[in-house]
Amino acid sequence: MSPPVGLEGVEATLARYSRLTREAMERYLQGRLPDRYLYDLVRDYPSRAGKGIRPSLLLATCQAFGGSVDEAIGSAVAIELAHNAFLVHDDIEDGSVQRRGRPTLHRLHGMPLAVNAGDALAVLALEPLRDGAPLSSRVSRRVSEEFLAMLTRTIEGQATELGWRADNVVDLAPTDYLELISRKTCWYTTVWPLRVGALIGSSGTAPLDAMTRFGFYLGAAFQIRDDLLNLVGSEARYGKELLGDLREGKRTLMLIHLLAGAAPDERRAVVAYLAAAARGEPGGMAPEELLDLMVRHGSLEFAFQFGQGVAAAAYESFHQAFTEVPPSPHRDFVETLIPYMLERSA
């Protein structure tokens, strides 16, 4: 594999790792019954090609540390299945209508079947981690421990976010946002893939704290960009309905910035809007008006620059995390994911 060049190069490499993982996932899910009420639903989201950031990060890190795709593909399948389980349940919790360019699972099949399919994805995610070749039992056990810890942290983060919305919590600082996404997003999007890739590739000899640090910065840059794309991205590329975060009253960096800088009457209107969103009702303003307020107060520019600062930290922590890793296309690919997180449009 040659080093990725530019955004297109990164996306080509992501697509390659993503395809490897999707093929393994399809082999894993094929032939299971019943089709109609369960496994057709279980296979739906995984078949809608996502970016594949999680398995790509895991597989590339494993290879950079001297391991092979065969050794790490089970873990890549596990994180993709868990990711899809989260998506199914998130879409229900958020009342989302679109996922990866198509209607969400609960809109296609109804709430009860979608919840059940999400449960099945979460349980199926554990299977590829069972003790057995090609991993040693010691490494396999550590991967499973990491997986369970990651699931717990992600669910804790999700609970915090839902709670903030339900209670209409508005006095938040950027550090609150970062603490939230460190659990809700970073752990399963970047920290776990990096830690487990290094764990498998080095047979458990790589120090993992540096991976956690790098993964947090990288995941935070990813989430900030994701939140921005929800407001100003291309719906066709982004795959979700634009302004969905505003309709749901999601606590993003832009919203926190606006709440801190808005004039008193504007702030009152925004708080009332968020209270209505928590009840699933239309607020006193349209989401487009809220976006307009954010633009006027420089909240989008603030988030973009804030993300650049986080990405700079990611860049530096990358060198610490990969200091023992010899140069290779896999190492280069992981490094180029940092600017990719800031520039991606999907």
Binding site: V5, G6, L7, G9, V10, F65, G66, S136, S137, R138, V139, R142, P174, T175, L178, E179, S182, G201, S202, S203, G204, T205, A206, P207, L208, D209, A210, T212, R213, F216, Y217, A220, E301, F302, Q305, F306, G307, Q308, G309, V310, A311, A312, A313, Y315, E316, S317, H319, Q320, A321, F322, T323, E324, V325, P326, T336, I338, P339, Y340, L342, E343
Partner: protein
């Protein structure tokens, strides 16, 4: 690839010679805020993890800064040790499985209701009926059919309670490989004097199967027929 480097805000630095605040002079205020806030959160998070996590794996490195070549040697050694350790473990597991298999008696066993014990105890009032449950466990890999019957039951003084009066439901038992089936025993106690009797439940078609049975017959309570 554009990004921090191409923005001219954070040039590449050699490994080991960096700190997250090294390039702050080239940052905007907001970028600096982002970097500082993220550093604050992650360092607090790591400090919390340190308090929760178990001691590091003995095979794991104490820290960074070693040569890439050394890290690869360390990983290769860990792989070799893991391979050897798994081979030893699997050998022992295989041996344990063989021993367990050889010790396991394969056949059809008769057991009492309560528990799988080696004796069935039933009791009843003279002139009434005693009842109990017999379990048949088939640990073979073929289906088995058997007809249960009860031998005569003998007391210590030589008195006999006839076993022929007993009935089993179902009369003929069919058991799939690896399955268990229960049969209900009913024994009329007409003409049987109070006392303790002993005998066996046997199974026609299963010469090695026998379940000892203990029958306790009590006298009728005063005022009862």
């Amino acid at each position: 690839m554009s990004g921090p480097r191409d923005n001219g805000q954070a040039e590449p630095r050699p490994p080991g010679g960096f700190g997250p605040f090294q390039a702050l002079s080239t940052f905007t205020d907001v970028q600096r805020r982002g970097l500082e806030a993220a550093s604050q959160v992650i360092e607090g998070f790591l400090a919390g993890l340190g308090a929760l996590q178990p001691p590091a794996d003995p095979g794991a490195a104490a820290g960074n800064g070693q040569e890439p070549g050394f890290a690869q040697v360390r990983a290769t050694m860990a792989r070799a040790l893991d391979l050897y350790s798994d081979l030893v473990r699997r050998s022992f597991e295989g041996y344990a499985d063989l021993v367990e298999q050889s010790l396991r008696v394969r056949g059809v066993g008769l057991h009492g209701a309560d528990d799988g014990q080696g004796e069935l105890t039933v009791q009843g009032v003279a002139g009434a009926q005693a009842a109990g449950t017999v379990w048949l466990h088939n640990t073979t890999d073929r289906s088995v059919s058997a007809v249960l019957h009860l031998t005569g039951l003998t007391a210590h003084d030589g008195r006999v309670a006839p076993g022929k009066a007993a009935s089993f439901e179902p009369a003929t038992v069919r058991i799939a490989p690896g399955a268990s089936v229960a049969a209900r025993l009913a024994l009329p106690l007409d003409g049987v004097a109070p006392g303790l009797y002993r005998g066996h439940v046997l199974a026609d078609g299963l010469p090695d199967a026998a379940l000892p049975i203990r029958l306790l017959v009590t006298g009728a309570a005063p005022g009862q027929p």
